[in-house]
Point group: C2
Chain length 133, copies 2
DNA sequence: CGGCCTTTGACAACCGTTCTCAACAAGCGT
DNA sequence: ACGCTTGTTGAGAACGGTTGTCAAAGGCCG
């Protein structure tokens, strides 16, 4: 139960802190390998899972179903505008949207409401480099 | 290129029409088998894929990553309130939300914007049967 | 330092989905 | 109705992300 601070966990957290954008577990694993920090893939998955449970990282699903992780600045509930090419992320919140969501759901007799509100797009940088093809 | 109307495709469409709720490809496959309509799993996947491309069905991802399909009443853009236990679905639209989403994204210099707005909950029926455990 | 007990890592197992490819059948022309 | 052409089917293999297994490694508390 006690969360031990191991070299591997520290490495995962550090990598997330530096990256700042949404990354897949495999990308993270690759990054760690590249910088010499040898960490097993399964361990990366477990670390991310634990962090997500503790709300230390946000998780969202890419369009192809892969899970992406990010260490967000704010721990409160919020949403994201994510570049589908490079993972670049902007945190956003929509107080209006929150209210709207729970009102609609309640009106239909639904409980335990959760909502998924994510915005995907192509950021300015990726649009520029795509033009240079 | 021409879309041929085969027994299998017809069966998939019919099953979707009757079900009315979001179902996974495997559930659909199981349903068809159960009613004697022998259809290969791969074929179900292909049929759903084709229907999705033609905007004949809506696709969304369950929390565990599985794809769910549904034949919606309206073909225009809309969102869903889905019971995470039985797939029961209510179509909803949020004109305010749409506007908000594209405005926010544009303000950050993002292009090709797409948004995912889905509501998950437990419907009244499932809540009731859960109480009977 | 010693030992308990969590964590690790290589690899196998899983599971949803897609691919392969020979057999099959829609739909068209005759 | 009869071929023919060509898209479609289906069983099984392949795939890719993720999770499980289990012996070895190593935090952490006394």
């Amino acid at each position: 139960m006690a969360a031990r601070m191991t070299r591997q966990r520290t490495a995962v957290v550090e990598a997330l802190d530096e990256l700042a954008d949404f990354r897949s577990a495999q990308q993270l694993h690759e990054t760690l390998r590249a910088r010499g920090e040898s960490v097993g893939l399964a361990t990366v998955y477990r670390a991310l899972q634990a962090l997500a449970e503790a709300s230390e990282v946000d998780v969202l699903r890419a369009e192809d179903g892969e899970s992406l992780y990010r260490r967000c600045a704010r721990r409160e509930h919020h949403h994201h505008l994510v570049c589908r090419h490079c993972g670049r992320t902007v945190e956003i919140d929509g107080p209006t949207v929150e209210a709207w969501a729970s009102k609609v759901a309640a009106a239909q007799g639904f409980d335990d409401i959760e909502h998924t509100i994510e915005l995907w797009g192509t950021c300015a940088d990726c649009r520029a480099s795509a033009a240079t093809k």
